[in-house]
């Protein structure tokens, strides 16, 4: 089960506390893995947060999860650095670039390793099962162990 929360002009900490309180979790103790991914200490719920400009997105789940949001953009100069040749062929527009970027980021955040995993290693032409959403002029990607159910608040 997944729930996606999208809010403007709020801090990650505030949104997380608000949502966890709503989920009935009162004692919020955050721990971090070796790469800095945050978890609830007893892992009764998994969460992941991303922000872009003034937009904050939070996903909570019963399983490991990663999320990323980015305003639609194009950075042609970094495409060869972060994309496989298969991915490069698919990028024609800023929308293509942004969708590819949020997918990569959500995947490496799901793994709990982040960019250190190697952005080219997160080949979005081979990894299946992303949830991709457009919100205004942003794209949001979610990757997790159980993508069967998504609820949005």
């Amino acid at each position: 089960m997944y729930k996606l929360y999208i809010e403007k002009d709020t801090s990650s900490e505030y949104l997380l506390k608000k949502v966890l309180k709503k989920e009935g979790i009162k004692d919020i103790e955050i721990i971090y893995n070796d790469y800095g991914k945050p978890y609830l200490k007893n892992k009764e719920l998994y969460f992941n947060i991303s922000h872009s400009n003034n937009l904050t997105v939070l996903v909570i789940s019963n399983e490991e999860v990663g999320v990323d949001v980015e305003k639609i953009t194009m950075k042609e100069s970094i495409i060869p650095r972060i994309c496989t040749s298969s991915e490069q062929k698919l990028i024609k527009t800023p929308e293509d670039f942004t969708k590819m970027w949020v997918k990569k980021e959500s995947y490496v955040k799901y793994l709990g390793i982040g960019i250190a995993y190697g952005l080219k290693n997160a080949d979005t032409t081979k990894i299946k099962g992303f949830i991709l959403k457009k919100y205004e002029d942003y794209y949001i990607a979610i990757y997790g162990d159980d993508l069967k159910t998504l609820k949005e608040d």
Binding site: Y35, G36, H51, R81, G114, I115
Partner: protein, 75 residues
């Protein structure tokens, strides 16, 4: 090296270089997001003809960290 690095960061991020020192934190002070950080790294790779490994990016927390990293690459 120090002045050159600061000037490049200021140019890419479109902020006055007077606002940047070696102690400036890329995320906390300049509010860089992952994509900005990769953009910055790619610019340094091109300028100095070096490779900055993805696994090292997280360790580049301050402008001083970038300067030290590039110097260690014997530029």
């Amino acid at each position: 090296m120090k002045e050159e690095t600061i000037s490049l960061i200021a140019s890419i991020l479109e902020i006055p270089k007077e606002k940047i020192t070696e102690k400036t934190n890329l995320i906390n002070d300049l509010e860089l997001e992952s994509l900005d950080l990769v953009d910055l790294v790619a610019a340094f790779e091109e300028k100095y003809n070096i490779e900055i490994l993805d696994k090292d990016i997280k360790s580049l927390q301050t402008v001083g960290d970038i300067i030290n990293y590039i110097e260690k690459k014997n530029v």
